[in-house]
Amino acid sequence: VGTQKRRPPDVRPIRSADRVVVRVKNSTRERGGALRELLESLPESTAVVRDVDRTGMAVLQLPPGTDVAKVIDDLKSNPDVLYAEPLFLDYGSG
């Protein structure tokens, strides 16, 4: 039997409701250009809020009310995209 503790159930969100992560493929194309083209295919006012150049990942902020799952599916079907997924959230474990 381990230490008895009383903690409320963890109800913190595990993913962002309006942000997605996309990583474009390494190719001969200039990465910034590929990202700009991706943005043109997404809902208007979608913005790159974080471009982690050294990892090739970008975080996109979607406009309110956007169907996030559909955006991810659309991104995945793009041949320039290595992967797209929700922005998953982590928390300290202490």
Binding site: G2, M57, Y91, G92, S93, G94
Partner: protein, 375 residues
């Protein structure tokens, strides 16, 4: 001991009384052993002098001879709160303070940062150039000031200055890179983790350092996190990560990559009785356990989020797999400092191979043991 040799006489041989030192203990005599003074040998230090001493003590009637070797008892530092750090005894932590950290291994702590005020390190236990201010990937700058408190607690467990007549003692007295990946609410993300990992790897790679990454956080599986773990693996870095605190839920990621990536160590938490803490997540990915209940360590010397939740400034107790993880990461760094030629997976193997098995399930290889890991 300089000038003294212990030797065993062959059966039937007579010991020349004049050479037997008065320091021969009665117990040794009962074993047929004697301590012999060797006055003809030059009293000098070093291996050559030892070899000359032993050679001089050998004779036809002697079965074997060897120098009188000094043993010592590992001691814990004298910091005033060490007596409350029950974990140090539980992991035979004295060995860590006898082991040199050197300058070739870097421990990167990816968390909520460290106490910084006005650009200066502001906690008495976390002072000096060995605490390197790395990236704040939350604000995207180079000021990883802790505005939550979690990171400072983790940092103190791993690396608080020992023997400075203040507070607690951390196991690792070497260089630490502080990277802020959790915000003021203690939240991070897959991208913050990846950003922090790559920042730490690049820092270590450009300086030719071995790298142990402590990540006392977790969340869902993601391509982003997996990519970062693989980037760390390709660059020879070891990631020590918390199993998570969701009361027996599956192990969180990145810790759960331990099943598929040999550069990841998944850490669970035990209490003073070495029983798995009931908040600890469980699963086959869990590799090792360490103390994670009632752990006293550092907190920022200014008001942060955890103070609003009842924690004191400067020092207080916390619990979680977050607290267990830095014990393991610090010992991993010390193993590496002892043997720089090891790979990350070899350090992991030594860490797990030296753990002490615990009864019951869900503790992986068992309890972290510094003495065994560093001997």
């Amino acid at each position: 001991v300089e000038g003294l040799v212990v030797r065993k006489q062959r059966a039937g041989g007579g010991e020349r009384a004049a050479t037997v030192s008065a320091t021969t203990p009665r117990g040794l005599a009962l074993l047929g052993l004697s301590v012999v003074a060797t006055p003809l040998v030059e009293r000098a230090s070093g291996r050559a002098a030892v070899e000359r001493t032993v050679r001089a003590a050998r004779a036809d009637d002697v079965e074997w001879a060897e120098p009188v070797l000094l043993d010592s008892i590992s001691r814990l530092p004298a910091d005033p709160l060490v007596s409350e750090q029950w974990a140090l005894d539980a992991i035979d932590g004295g060995a860590a303070f006898d082991s040199a950290a050197g300058t070739s291994v870097l421990l990167a702590v990816l968390d909520s940062g460290m106490p910084i005020e006005g650009g200066m390190r502001s906690h008495q236990e976390l002072q000096g150039d060995r605490f390197i201010l790395g990236r704040d990937v939350v604000s995207n700058d180079d000021d990883p000031a802790d505005d939550h408190g979690h990171g400072t607690h983790v940092l103190g467990i791993a690396a608080a200055t020992a023997d400075n007549s203040a507070g607690v003692a951390g196991l690792w007295q070497g260089r630490v890179l502080v990277v802020k990946v959790f915000d003021s609410l203690g939240a991070g993300s897959s991208v913050a983790f990846a950003d922090g990992v790559t920042a730490a790897v690049e820092f270590a790679r450009t300086r030719g350092l071995r790298l142990v990454i402590n990540y006392s956080g977790g969340g869902p599986d993601s391509e982003t996190k997996k990519t970062a773990v693989e980037f760390a693996r390709a660059n020879g870095a070891l990631i020590v990560a918390a199993a998570g605190n969701n009361f027996g839920s599956p192990i969180e990621f990145p810790a759960a990559y331990s099943a598929t990536h040999d550069n990841v160590v998944a850490v669970g938490a035990v209490d003073r009785r070495k029983a798995l803490a009931d908040f600890c997540n469980v699963g086959p990915e869990l590799n090792i356990v360490a103390p994670g209940v009632d752990i006293i360590s550092t907190l920022p010397n200014y008001f942060v989020t955890l103070n609003a939740e009842g924690k004191q400034t400067k020092f207080d107790r916390m619990e979680g797999t977050s607290q267990a993880t830095p014990y393991v990461a610090a010992i991993a760094a010390l193993i590496w400092a002892q043997q720089l030629a090891l790979s990350a997976s070899q350090v992991r193997r030594k860490l797990l191979g030296s753990a002490v098995a615990l009864p019951g399930a869900n503790t992986g290889s068992g309890m972290l043991n510094a003495q065994r890991a560093l001997s």
